[in-house]
């Protein structure tokens, strides 16, 4: 019983784990769940019955494997920044074969964190502290920062404006928010953005006694600040069962005349440590709507409209009206 990719990686696995029994490798092949129809990615859990750790191989079925490389390079970058003590799982290798590129990482006794009650609160506090530390360590306000942020807006709008599943009103809202954000890019630093930062990405690594943050394939080395924080807060509120969807949680928590008091406390801390311009939360909320809509369309293709997309576009429309643009 073999898996072709595991077979083809055996020499690399032997090199990485020279003392391991070659006959004891086992695998489970999994595909992306849910709505990510165009994002034909595959995760293979490989473990050796004779020895830990479990390896995770990620690869692409469609040949578009830029995200595979992106994941590895991002974690290398974090390692270079000496943030190793808060970085699990470990990136092991980027292996290139004829037709596939594999990102390999290792796990030690990993289990998803529970996100209920007190456990949720403690993991939230930890995650926000983690995020703030990483964003502070990677923030850059050099001459190219404004250009980088502006380029991201252009890229996201171009995905949205070509999407046949959106209405002209939604596309117009995206353009308006992008223009408003473009005017103030010089006031913001760039930070390392995870791009998909929510509690399902956190794993307890029991042996290492720490928490790992996985799925860095959408990371942007010079990305917008705050967007990861908005995603974390709104998704956590949704996962805690308080809201029917993450975009709806986002609207309720951030778009009241003033943000929810607990949210305001988190934001104040983040704002002061990163030295961000005041009174820009709502604009950044619009940028988050723009980003998350573009990301969903990029993952799913632009053909099939789903409620998840509609809610995100509602977020855009609400942000525009809130900003009175």
């Amino acid at each position: 019983m073999t898996l072709s990719i595991v077979e083809s990686l055996k020499p690399d696995l032997d090199r990485l784990y020279p003392e391991t029994d070659r006959a004891a490798w086992r695998f489970v092949c999994t595909t992306a769940a849910g709505d990510n129809r165009n994002d034909a990615k595959v995760t293979v859990f490989v473990y050796n019955t004779a020895r830990h750790p479990m390896l995770v191989l990620k690869t692409s079925l469609t040949g578009d494997d830029t995200w595979v490389k992106n994941q590895y390079l991002t974690l290398q970058f974090l390692e270079h920044l000496k943030l190793w003590d808060i970085l699990y799982p470990r990136p092991i290798a980027l292996i290139e074969h004829d037709q596939h590129r594999f990102y390999v990482e290792s796990y030690v006794d990993a289990r998803p964190v529970a996100y209920r009650g007190k456990s949720l609160q403690s993991i939230m506090r930890w995650a926000i502290e983690w995020l703030t530390t990483v964003h502070c360590a990677t923030s850059a306000s050099d001459a190219s920062a404004s250009h980088n942020l502006s380029s991201l807006l252009t890229a996201w709008v171009s995905i949205i404006q070509d999407a046949s599943c959106l209405t002209s009103k939604e596309v117009s809202a995206a353009r308006v928010i992008a223009e408003a954000a473009r005017e103030v890019t010089s006031a913001f630093p760039t930070v390392l953005m995870h791009g998909d930062f929510h509690p399902n990405q956190f794993l307890h690594m029991y042996r290492a006694q720490t928490v790992g943050i996985v799925d860095w394939e959408h990371a942007i080395l010079k990305g917008w600040p705050v967007l990861d924080l908005i995603e974390l807060l709104s998704t956590t509120a949704y996962l805690a069962g308080q809201y029917p969807s993450s975009p709806q949680a986002c609207q309720t928590l951030f778009m009241q005349p003033n943000p929810h008091p607990m949210i305001a406390r988190f934001l104040d801390n983040y704002w002061s440590r990163l030295v961000l311009p005041p009174d820009t939360v709502k604009l950044l909320l619009g940028v988050y709507g723009l980003y998350s809509l573009a990301q969903v369309i990029a993952l799913r293709g632009d053909i099939l409209p789903l409620p998840a997309i509609t809610e995100r576009s509602h977020l855009l429309l609400a942000a525009r009206s809130l900003l009175q643009l």
Partner: protein, 371 residues
């Protein structure tokens, strides 16, 4: 974008050969038709696609399927793809679709490339030539074309092939050739011309017409696939497990739409089908052991059986069904139940694995047989 003229695919440019199904002599293929130089039989092109079946044969086949397929959708999509472009055709269809089944029909069969995850079970196919037998709208062909040298996409439903033709023309994909064929043996291909033949959800349908016992027809198809495979080439089969655990809980058979029909002895199932549907039960599925036996009988020596969960069409996991440790890890650690049935499965899986029951009742199989 490179436009391909499907009206003039020169035979010499294709990496496989067509042969006369009657004389086994290589056909002369022109922009109008294919002709046998020995018996002078001719097979015309229909809208640029080489046609080895007639509309009457297509109708005879489709009329047997009318209760499970959605008649008319394929024609609508193909026509809209020709006039508006395939993307706009799908978008427009999706907006008009009223039921989840209609939406799923489009998205599953035209957009979800992750269904081709089984190709990672195979050796790399950079120079390989594949036959997608029963290609439907061609989602597997399109994915295989990303990494294979050439893919021959065969189906019995012309409208689906026509949609695929529009798609490859509009996207400039040069290494996919749609062929209108099937439902009659031998196939119009020379011996040992493919490195991969895939039959995803096809084997159970090949015997729906005729009076010959279904096993014999299915056996004949497997032998035919053996003939057209190169030595060392692979046959991939995606098929439901006859004894899948869902059927024991009253799930309808995906092919006959009858409850418990796969679990019954064939003769009893046939009488049951005659009584309920007014037609014989011929959509045979098998256990892993029975499938391996069929394949051995057809000449295949090396056979590997994998279990896709929850099914071969939308696999979330692919595992070795005989490896208890892998099964335990999949059900206990990796699976996130989405409904009550999955929660129940997760709860009883450890015991079912321990007594060897789950291994025999996994929902489907992905089988790789090497020539």
């Amino acid at each position: 974008m490179t436009q391909i003229n499907l009206q003039q695919p020169a035979q010499r440019d294709l990496p496989f050969h067509f042969v006369c199904p009657h004389c086994q002599v290589e056909l002369e293929v022109t922009e109008w038709e294919a002709t046998c130089p020995l018996c002078a039989r001719q097979w015309p092109r229909r809208e640029g696609i080489l046609a080895f079946v007639s509309e009457a044969e297509e109708y005879a086949f489709l009329s047997r399927l009318k209760e499970v397929e959605m008649p008319g959708i394929e024609d609508e999509l193909a026509n809209a793809a020709a006039t508006q472009g395939w993307r706009a055709a799908l978008t427009s269809y999706y907006r008009q679709a009223t039921t989840p089944e209609q939406r799923a029909f489009v998205s599953h069969y035209t957009l979800e490339e992750k269904r081709a995850v089984w190709k990672l079970l195979l050796p790399p196919g950079k120079e390989a030539i594949a036959l997608d037998y029963g290609c439907g709208f061609g989602i597997y062909s399109l994915n295989l074309a990303r990494t294979y040298r050439h893919v021959c996409a065969v189906d019995l439903t012309f409208a689906r092939l026509n949609f695929l033709k529009q798609r490859i023309m509009q996207d400039g994909i040069a290494n996919v050739t749609p062929i209108w064929a099937g439902d009659r043996l031998p196939l119009p291909f020379s011996e040992a011309c493919f490195d991969l033949v895939m039959m995803n959800g096809v084997l159970e349908w090949v015997a729906v017409n005729g009076n010959t016992p279904p096993e014999q027809i299915q056996q004949a198809y497997l032998s035919e696939m053996y003939r057209i495979l190169r030595p060392g080439g692979h046959l991939y089969i995606g098929i439901e497990n006859r004894y899948g655990y869902g059927y024991f809980f009253g799930k309808r058979d995906e092919h006959s739409y009858l409850r418990f029909s796969t679990l019954l002895p064939r003769r009893v199932a046939n009488a049951y089908s005659q009584l309920v549907r007014g037609k014989p039960y011929r959509e045979y599925t098998y256990s892993a052991k029975q499938l391996v036996s069929l394949l051995h009988y057809s000449g295949f020596a090396q056979i590997q059986v994998y279990a896709p969960i929850p099914g071969y069409n939308a696999p979330r996991f692919i595992v070795n069904p005989q490896d208890r440790q892998v099964l335990r890890s999949t059900f206990a650690d990796l699976m996130k139940p989405r409904n009550t049935k999955e929660r129940l499965m997760k709860a009883i899986a450890p015991v079912a694995i321990k007594i060897g029951l789950l291994q025999k009742t996994l929902p489907a199989f992905m089988i790789l047989a090497e020539k």
